[in-house]
Amino acid sequence: MTGTATAPLVEAAIIGGGPAGLCAALELARAGIRCLVVDRQHVLGGQLIKQTHRFFGSRSERAGQRGFEIGKQLAAELLQHDGVTVWLEGTAVGYYAEDRTLLVERDGALCRVHVEALILATGAAERALAFAGNDLPGVYGAGAVQTLMNVYGVRPGERAVMIGAGNIGLIVAYQLIQAGVEVAAVLEAAPAVGGYWVHAAKLARAGVPIMTSHSIVAALGTDQVTGVRATKLDAKWQPVQGSQFEVPCDLVCLAVGLSPLTELATLAGCQLAYVPELGGYVPWHDEEMQTTVPGVFVAGDAAGVEEASSAMIEGTLAGLAVVNYLRPHSQYAASRKRAAAQLAALRAGPTAERIRAGLLKLSDHRPRLAGTGGEGK
C-alpha cells in the first residue's frame, strides 16, 4: 500500500470497491494495467460485506454463494495481482477531466493522481421518507440495520416494523428475524410486493404480515420510537380515512429505494439523465459504460440501481471497456459480447421489466454532443 499523499503511478482508477468496482478492477489487473482502487470503508467489498444471504443468478455470477463470501473472494483475487493499489478509508473528492486528474482525500491529506481512465463505481444511497417522527432514535435505513447486525453483531432493537417490501426490505426483515428481532409487520405502499416472491414467502412462513397498500403515517414516541402509526392506502395511493392503526415497536426500518451516488460524476462533468426506473439521476452512458466524458466510465448502482449480480457484470463490462480504451485489442469484442449476454440474461425476466424500461429511456437520452459535460442539475 502506498503512503500518504504519494501518488501511485497508475493508468486507471476505480472509485468504489463494491461488487462493480472489484469486478472492474479485476479486468484491469488481469490485463496487467496498473490501477488504483479507492474506497471510503476500511475493508473492500462495499455492500457485499453485509449480505449474509445466498445470491441469485447463475454459476458465472457465483449464485448460491453468500454475498459476503463473494466479496471476500473478489477482494482476495484482486490483491493477488501486481500493479493493484488499494486505498481504503479514502474519499475521491474531485476529478478534473481537462488534465485527467483525480483528487483523493486520505489520512487527512489530499492526493493528486493522474489517470488515463476512471471508473465510477460509487454505488447508491438509501432514500429517506418524510413522516412525523422520522428523526427519532430507532428510525433507521435498512442498510444501516444490516450493517449493525451482520458486520458488527449488534441487535438494533426488539421489535421492528419494516417500511418497503422490495428485495432489500424483505431480505433485511428476514435477517432481523435471524438476529432475534421480532418483525411486527412489513408495510408496502404499492398494491403488491416489489421484491422476489420467494423472499416474501420466507417471511410469511415466519408469521410476518406483509401489508400491501399500507404506509407509515408517523413514528410514535418522544425520546425514542415506541411504535408506528400506519394507514391503509387506496388504489390512488391516498390514505383511507379511518383506517389508521398503531403498531408497537422500537425499531423502524426504511427500505424505500436507493438513489445512485452521482456527485463525482457531476464534478467530472458527466451529463446526467433523469430516469426514475434506474433510481433517479444517472450519468448517461453508452453500451460500453462510458459516460459523456471520454475516459470516464460508470458501473453498478451508480449507473442505475439494480441487483448486485448485475453490478458485478457491469463492472466486468466497464473493466473490459477500459482495457480496450487503453490498449485496443482484438479479443475485446468477444469478451464484451460474453459479458453483455450474461447481463441480458439476468435482465430477461418479468422482474427486470422496470430496469429494461429504464435502460431504453436512458438510450433515448443520448446526448447530441458528447464530451461537453457540465450539465446543471
Binding site: 445466498r54 428475524i177 403488491a192 416472491w197 410469511a204 412462513r205 440474461a345 422482474t351
Partner: protein, 174 residues
C-alpha cells in the same frame, strides 16, 4: 407465469390453485419422497438445476425459466433444498404405511432444533397447524450454514407444513 392467485401476485405466498400446478400426483407421492419447488416467479436464478445430480430438475434454457421437477427421476435426496437461494424447495415423504409423513425444509435460524424436539409445525402463513417431531437436523459444511431439518407431521399435513417454530429465534451459537 401468466396465471397466478391474488395472494401470490400480491404477497408472494402461493394458494392452492398455484400449488396444484406444481404438485406431483398422488400416485407419485405414495411411492416415495419427492422435491416440491415452490418457485412461481421468473427470477434470474438457476442453482437448483445445477444442484441435482440425477437431472431431475430439468435444465434451464434461460436463467429466468421456472424450475421443473421430473418426479420420475427425483428420489427426494434434498440436495437442492439447501442450495436454493430462495429457500423455496421442500421434500415431502408420505410413502410410509402409518399415519405420519415427513417434510424436509431449509432452516436458517438459531438455535437449531434437535432430533426428538416437539415443535410447532407452521403453514405457509406461519400459522401453527399441528405439532411436529424433529426427526433429523443436518448441517454439514457443504450446506454452507443452511440446515436441513426433517420434521414428522400427520401425513395429511405434509403438503401444508412449510415451517417450524423451534425456539425463540435468538442466536445461541456462532
Amino acid at each position: 407465469m401468466t396465471r397466478c392467485s391474488e395472494q401470490l401476485g400480491r404477497a408472494g405466498t402461493p394458494e392452492a390453485a398455484d400449488l396444484a400446478r406444481i404438485l406431483p400426483d398422488d400416485e407419485r407421492l405414495r411411492r416415495g419422497p419427492v422435491a416440491i419447488i415452490e418457485c412461481f416467479q421468473e427470477i434470474p436464478c438457476d442453482p437448483c438445476a445445477d444442484a441435482c445430480r440425477r437431472g431431475a430438475i430439468l435444465a434451464f434454457d434461460k436463467i429466468t425459466d421456472l424450475p421443473r421437477v421430473d418426479p420420475e427421476h427425483c428420489n427426494g435426496c434434498a440436495l437442492c433444498v439447501v442450495r436454493c437461494p430462495g429457500l423455496a424447495i421442500f421434500v415431502v415423504d408420505v410413502s410410509g404405511d402409518g399415519d405420519m409423513g415427513t417434510v424436509k425444509l431449509p432452516y436458517e435460524y438459531l438455535p437449531l432444533p434437535r432430533p426428538g424436539d416437539d415443535v410447532a409445525a407452521l403453514d405457509r402463513l406461519g400459522q401453527e397447524v399441528c405439532r411436529g417431531k424433529i426427526v433429523a437436523v443436518q448441517r454439514p459444511a457443504a450446506f454452507d450454514r443452511t440446515a436441513l431439518v426433517t420434521v414428522e407431521v400427520p401425513r395429511e399435513q405434509a403438503l401444508i407444513v412449510r415451517g417450524i417454530r423451534a425456539g425463540q429465534g435468538r442466536r445461541s451459537d456462532g
